[in-house]
Amino acid sequence: MSSAAAQSASGSGPKAERFDPSIAHLTHVPRRHYGRWIASLLILIVFAYVAKAFAEGQIDWKVVGQFFTAQSILSGLGNTIIMTICAMALGIALGVLFAIMVMSPNPVLKGVAVFYIWFFRGTPLLLQLLIWFNLALVFPRIGIPGLFEARMVDVMTPFVATLLGLGINQGAYTAEVVRSGILSVDVGQTEAAKSIGMTRLTTLRRIILPQAMRVIIPPVGNEVISMVKLTSIASVIGYAEVLRNAQTIYYANARVIELLIVAAAWYLMIVTVLSVGQHFLERYFAKGQSRRKTRPAARPTLES
């Protein structure tokens, strides 16, 4: 078999005539995937059943449509988006800062960063949110002596408490992501940067972080998407985001599922838009990396 294949491949030798070249023009028929057809059919049946159940269930779709663009829902949506942006910005800023501190040779900075990551990753987010919101119980007044002073209850609004709670908690996770991104960049890059006279900070800014972004973007994209949904837990301390406002409405009109569907649809829409954005961001930071020729498969990428 193998020797015959070798012979026909070389196309020479007296035995080549044994093969029938006239079949070369016959049509190739791909293998049929019966398993896939059966699986598709089963899934269609299940899907139709679920769709039927929802269509016949006690859901008033008119109410869903009516509240989909209600003033209160839209303003809640706005608050959700604003909080996602602010908390994520705070989280990324703290994440980069603490990632650099964790990797610092300075034992004091390193210690502070290790403690920060340990503390905020080690306690539930809901608990942190409640602590921030109730901080006035411990510190009734806040300020710098002689400069300004205010009552803590006035400062720690639901917005501020949510921002601090989500942002600082997020920073602890992002710090680990940024650290792994920095570690993914070859030490040779740092040495080359030093050899052309760059200081440590310039090396980080110009050489290391831009390359670390390739590794950092996918998990941070995931975290932005989680953050959109995490803002919903701020409803417990009265931050008027989309879920909170949906709840306020259904407390009044008892259309619980309808309003939850409205909220779910809006979350899905935001997340879909963000996923598309993440795709383009990943492509941008992959420049110079995607067409690797000289060192193929130098580093396996772990992207989901």
Binding site: G188, E191, Q211
Partner: protein, 254 residues
């Protein structure tokens, strides 16, 4: 002759391994010096200490007349800051075994990065010079290619251009052809040969004994963290005096 590099009793250990065991050497300006020796002999470490990529445990190194890494106050040596060390590194250019081109930058961007970001020169001037340097290493057509699109030999030539763009007084080569496929070694050596004939001071750690014999003014043989033998290529590579040198050359040529 004015020495460009002076090392006095330099010691450096990695854990229990003594990489440099009291190295003293004067390297004259305007010459090509090749350092050869078995792996682990400390030759790369010596080069990296000259560029302060490694910190020495004891001893002293002067580059271009300046004590590097430390400031002498009385009878103590105080370590310099990050910024001062960065400034001292500008005297020398370094070419690495693994090229270490910035992966997220094109060939041209790699070359102008130092002049623009570190030396704060005008971007347009830096680009003009970078284009000329790319022509000089025979890669004028590759200015907009990323490192991943270049062969090893092309990457190493861009790396040489990147180091030259800083206008160093001294070029350090750390096994510049060791990571290359055999057919790509020649193009890199030819660029280095041109550089040598232009009068650049070069210290080359290499396994290419042919290149050393042809281009070097002086050859140093190192073993176990010490300089065993030093002299003209003829003396060290053809008629070595020391048994260790003879064994090494026999092993390489075998």
């Amino acid at each position: 002759m004015i020495p460009i590099v002076v090392a006095a009793d330099v010691r450096k250990a990695f854990g229990s391994v003594q990489a440099l065991d009291g190295v003293s050497i004067e390297i004259p300006a305007g010459q090509v010096m090749c350092i050869v020796g078995p792996s682990g002999s400390g030759k790369s470490t010596l080069l990296r200490c000259i560029n302060q990529l490694e910190r020495i445990d004891s001893g002293a190194i002067w580059v271009d007349g300046e004590l590097i890494g430390y400031r002498r106050v009385g009878d103590k040596l105080y370590e310099l800051t990050d910024a001062e060390i960065a400034r001292q590194r500008l005297t020398s250019g370094m070419v690495f075994q693994r090229f270490n081109l910035f992966q997220h930058m094109t060939a041209l961007e790699n070359i102008i990065e130092g002049p623009v970001t570190v030396q704060k020169r005008r971007r347009r001037d830096a680009v003009d010079e970078a284009v000329a340097l790319l022509e000089r290493v025979g890669l004028g057509a590759k200015r907009d290619s990323y490192p991943s699109e270049l062969s090893g030999g092309q990457q190493q030539r861009v790396a040489i251009a990147r180091a030259l763009a800083m206008k160093p007084k001294l070029m350090l080569f750390d096994e510049p052809t060791s990571a290359l496929d055999p057919e790509l070694v020649g193009e890199v050596l030819s660029v280095m040969r041109d550089l040598a004939s232009s009068g650049m001071t070069m210290i080359v750690v290499t396994h290419e004994l042919g290149f050393a014999r042809e281009v070097a003014n002086e050859v140093v043989f190192m073993d176990r963290g010490a300089i065993v033998e030093r002299g003209s290529p003829q003396e060290v590579l053809v008629h070595p005096q020391q048994q260790r040198t003879r064994d090494f050359i026999a092993a390489v040529l075998a």
